[in-house]
Each structure stands twice: as C-alpha cells, then as structure tokens.
C-alpha cells in the first residue's frame, strides 16, 4: 500500500510538471508571446520593460526554466486587464465555483444513485427502461441548451426562479440542475451496472436466504460494494466541476472561475487564462490523489494498476 501511494504521488508530480509545461506553451502557441502577454496599448518602452520582466528577450529554454521556477511559487504573472497577480485574480472567483460544484455533485450523486438502484431492483421492467431512458436523454441534451430551456421555462415564462447572478439558494437551483443532469445520468448508469453485478453474487443469495428484507439486502449488502467504482467517478466529476463550467456559469452569469476565464479569453488576458488552466488542473490532480488515498481505506485490495 505504501508503494502504491508513492507511485501515485510520483505520477501526480510528473503530471503537474507536464501541466505547467502545457501552460507555458499555451502563450507561445502563435510563436509570439509578446502579442499575448503584453497589453496592446503599451508604448515601445513599456513593451521592452515587460519583455525584460517576463524574460521574453531570453532564449526559450531560459524562459521555460524561469516559468517553472515561478509557477512553483504560484507566480503566473500579472493580469493584463486587472491590476493584480493573475493567480490571485482567479482565486477570488473560486468560492462561487466551489459552491456550484458541490451543489451539482450532491444532486448528481443522490439522483443518480436513486435512479440506478431503482432501475437495478427490477431489471427489464418499465421502471428500469424509464430510468435508463431518462439517463440517456440527460446525457444527450447539451448542457447549454438545457440551461437555456430552464431559463426560458422557469425564469422567463413561469418566473419562479432567478436566472442570473449569485445570491440566495434560489439562485443556485437552475445552474446546479443544469450542471448536475449530465453527471446524474452517468451516475445512474454506473450505479445500475454495479448493482446488477453485485445482486447476482453469492453473498446476496445468502443474505436473502437468511430472510433479510430486500431493502436491507439492497442498501446494506449490495450498495457498499457497488459504490466503490462510484467513488472514482465522484472524484473525476468533482475535479471537473471545480474547473468551473465555462458554459453554465456564463449562461447564468454565475461569478465563478469558468465565466471569469471566458472573459479573459475574450479580452485576450492570457496570464489569467494561463493561471486558470494551472489552478483548476492542479485542483483536479489533488482531488484525484485524495480519492486514491480514500480508495486504499475503503478497498484494501487496491494495488498499483
């Protein structure tokens, strides 16, 4: 188990290094980082000052080493549009994204488990087909169109819920439903598949033969075993959600990192774009490392895959 954790830690560090490398080249993809990293309206003297401070007048290799060193300390340059360090600017939008991410995840896990368990309890029945059709539709409808339709129906026509901005819990409902639906569909399908597999095992037959109620067999015997792969999925999902959904946050004017980064893309504020990619990728790596730690606790069979 210790070996497993060391291997995982090492591969996480290698991944982090590769991510920093991608972020470095992101500003150099056109071959002219000056155009992307220096404000348009800078005077020639200012451009020169920028080049020196960012090291853009040096060789690519030197720039790379400089960038690596700075990113370890969390220095990803200054935002062009906002007068503050890029990473700091992005971090201020993190709380809104975290709130939305957890709301969506709870919705996806609870809804997905419920749908999956009900479907697996009577495979092939009407309830099963209904739940799985629902999951398939949830997976097929594009997130942004679903968001627009929710806005149209519940915001504009019925006027039940606010459609933009962050405020009370009622502001959270539409974006969380929009973002959570696709994931709910994934959880529903995974749960059903896992439950069907577990329900056909010998220990379930034993449990039933001991006269345990079907509810108890399902929830206490089958579900914990079926839930193990779901933990990985939840980690991947949370990591993805914390990256901030560019689309959902934009549609609902939710002040999170996704929307902020999109504005940075439109403004060509590349240091902020780089800082966002850096931050959310690192969060993703960290969460998945933690999930692996958790794994070794809940499933002692875990070894290096």
């Amino acid at each position: 188990m210790t070996r497993f954790l060391i291997v995982r830690l090492l591969s996480t560090v290698v991944s982090a290094w590769l991510i920093v490398t991608v972020v470095f080249f992101l500003a150099r993809i056109t071959g002219d980082p000056v155009a992307l990293l220096v404000p348009d309206n800078a005077t020639p003297a200012e451009v020169q000052a920028f080049k020196e401070r960012l090291g853009l007048d040096r060789s690519m290799a030197e720039q790379y080493v400089l960038f690596l060193g700075r990113s370890v300390t969390g220095d990803l340059g200054q935002s062009i549009r906002h007068v503050q360090p890029a990473l700091q600017a992005v971090a201020t939008y993190m709380p809104a994204t975290i709130q939305l991410a957890f709301a969506s995840l709870v919705l996806a896990v609870v809804g997905g488990l419920a749908l999956g368990i009900v479907a697996a309890s009577r495979p092939g029945s009407f309830v099963d087909s209904f739940a799985m059709t629902l999951a398939l539709i949830g997976q097929s409808v594009p997130v942004y169109w679903q968001g627009l339709m929710l806005i149209m129906i519940f915001g504009l026509q019925l006027q039940w819920l606010p459609i933009s901005g962050r405020g009370g819990w009622e502001h959270l409902i539409l974006p969380a439903v929009t973002l959570g639906t696709t994931q709910m569909a994934v959880f529903a399908r995974l749960t059903r598949a896992g439950m069907l597999e577990q329900l056909s095992q010998d220990f379930i037959r034993t449990a039933r033969s001991r006269g345990l109620s079907e509810l108890r067999v399902t929830l206490r015997h089958a579900l914990p075993n079926a839930a193990i792969p779901l933990v990985t999925q939840a980690g991947l999902t949370l990591g993805g959600l914390l990256a901030g959904s560019v689309i959902t946050e934009t549609i609902f004017a939710w002040p999170g990192v996704g929307r902020f980064a999109l504005q940075a893309v439109y403004n060509r504020d590349f240091p902020v774009v780089q800082a966002t990619v850096f931050l959310v990728s690192m969060v993703f790596l960290a969460i998945n490392f933690l999930v692996d730690l958790l794994y070794t606790v809940i499933d002692p069979r875990t070894t290096v895959a």
Partner: protein
C-alpha cells in the same frame, strides 16, 4: 446482428441526419444565408410577405430556420467526420503500442492521458482558438487531436489482456516481429471495440463543436452551426422562442441517436460491457 428497438431509433436518426446533411441543397426549402428583413422572426408555420412558407419560422435576419438547421447538420457532421479519424489513428496507435511494449513508454503515454484529463478542455480550446484564430481546419484539428484519450485508454487496456493470449505468445514464440504482431494479431482484435468507440465519439464531438460555436469561437457566422444558432437565439427567448428551441432539438436528437447507436453496438459487439 439485428438492432434492438432503441438501436433502430438511433440508426434511423443517424441515417436521416446524414441524408439531410448530404442532400441539404436539394431538400432545404430556402437558401440558409439569404436574409429577408421584412420577414424577421416569423413564428413557425407562417408565411412571409411573398407568400413563402416557413415550417419552423425565421430567425432575427429573416433566414428560414428549417433550411439553416438542415445546413447546420452538414457543418456538425462534417466536423465530426473529419475529427474522428484523427483521434482514432492517434489514440489507437498510442494505445496499442503502450499496451504492447509497456514499461517506460507506457508510463509516458499514461501520464499524457492523465494530464489531458486534468486540464479543462473547453477553456484550453478557447485559448488556442483565440490565439490562432477559429477556422474550420483549426476546430477539426483541435477536436481530432484532443479526442485520442478514449481510444488510447481503452485500446491499451484491451491490448494488455490480448498480449497474454495464446495466439500472441505463439506468434512471438515463432519469432514474429513486434510490428507484425501488432498489425496482424492485435489490431484486428480491437476492431469491434473501435467501432463502439467511434460511434460514441461522434455525438461527443458534435456537442463540443456546438459548445465552441455557442461561445463564439467555433464555426463562424454566417455559416449555420447549431451552436451558433442557439447563441443567436438566446436574446429572443422571451418572445421568439423558436429561434433557440429548434436548433437545440436538432442537436439533442442527433446526439441521442448517436448514443443509442453506440449503446446498441456495444451490447451487440462486446457482451462483456453489456449495459454499462
């Protein structure tokens, strides 16, 4: 291999979409680009001043919505048809070789996979598109190159188990070169897996393309793309709902069709993965 009822639905949706895309100039009632200021935002089932009938209404520039949706299918499917082979080739090559040679090389491929999974795709794509400029080719290349991961991961897993099977070990025992083993013994055995993966990637690429177009950095107007049409229709949602509703229905239907087809192929070709 007869389709199940839902397999049929998927197959029919996809055939209709492909036919609509291929025959767009023949079946579209109007030119999708011709504007008519006098007939702006006409509701579905209405006539314009010249007596032209608009089944799904017109958009904010008076263009026929049905014609734009039909031509939109062309854009959507063309991007998918061009991007998917790129992903297929890159992903399969990396997956087969990583699974076969293992060791350090396998580790490198797996790290690349991890890194791509960790990075926010839409944001990265937008940054690249805004830097080098969105065009048909850049979008196809972007979606094609980044789409390799599903193939890479799953093909690698399959090859890891195939390479221990008897037909591979005996080929190695009689001295077959690695290239021959990969080409003659491993690749043919991943064919049905690849069919499934392709059928599932098509709807995925369509969603990503429409998302990029929705955000203004995908297919550029006046070319009709479903994502771009949705984004234009956004501001008319309160009163002229049809501009944002119909392109979304078209997109959802085709994605659903692709998913149904993919699910059926998976059940039919790979019994081990049934209804996962």
């Amino acid at each position: 291999m007869r389709p199940t009822p839902s397999g049929w639905v998927g197959l029919i949706i996809m055939v209709v979409a492909v036919l609509a895309a291929a025959l767009a100039p023949v079946i579209a009632p109007y030119d999708p680009l011709v504007q008519d200021v006098a007939a702006r935002l006409r509701p579905p089932l209405s006539l314009d001043s010249r007596g032209g009938f608009h089944l799904l209404g017109t958009d904010q520039l008076g263009r026929d919505l049905l014609s734009r949706i039909i031509y939109g299918a062309r854009v959507s499917l063309l991007v998918a048809a061009a991007a998917v082979p790129i992903s297929l080739v890159i992903g399969t090559t990396l997956g087969v070789t990583a699974g076969y040679f293992r060791g350090f090389y396998d580790n490198v491929v797996m790290r690349l996979l991890d890194v791509q999974l960790a990075m926010p795709f839409i944001l990265l794509a937008l940054a690249i598109l805004v830097a080098i400029g969105p065009s048909f080719t850049t979008i196809i290349l972007l979606l094609g190159i980044t789409g390799w991961t599903h193939y890479g991961r799953i093909v690698r897993g399959e090859v890891l188990s195939l390479r221990e099977r008897e037909f591979v070990t005996s080929a190695r025992a009689v001295g077959a070169a690695s290239g021959r083993i990969i080409w003659r013994h491993l690749l043919p055995n991943t064919a049905s897996l690849l069919t499934i993966l392709v059928s599932l990637q098509v709807p995925h690429v369509m969603i990503l393309e429409s998302a990029l177009s929705f955000l203004g950095l995908g297919i550029q107007p006046p070319l009709p793309s479903w994502g771009g049409m949705l984004s234009e229709g956004r501001q008319y949602m309160l009163l002229q709902w049809w501009v944002a509703v119909f392109p979304g229905i078209a997109l959802s239907l085709v994605v659903l069709g692709g998913n149904l087809l993919g699910d059926w192929l998976r059940d039919a070709l790979d019994p081990r993965q049934r209804s996962r």
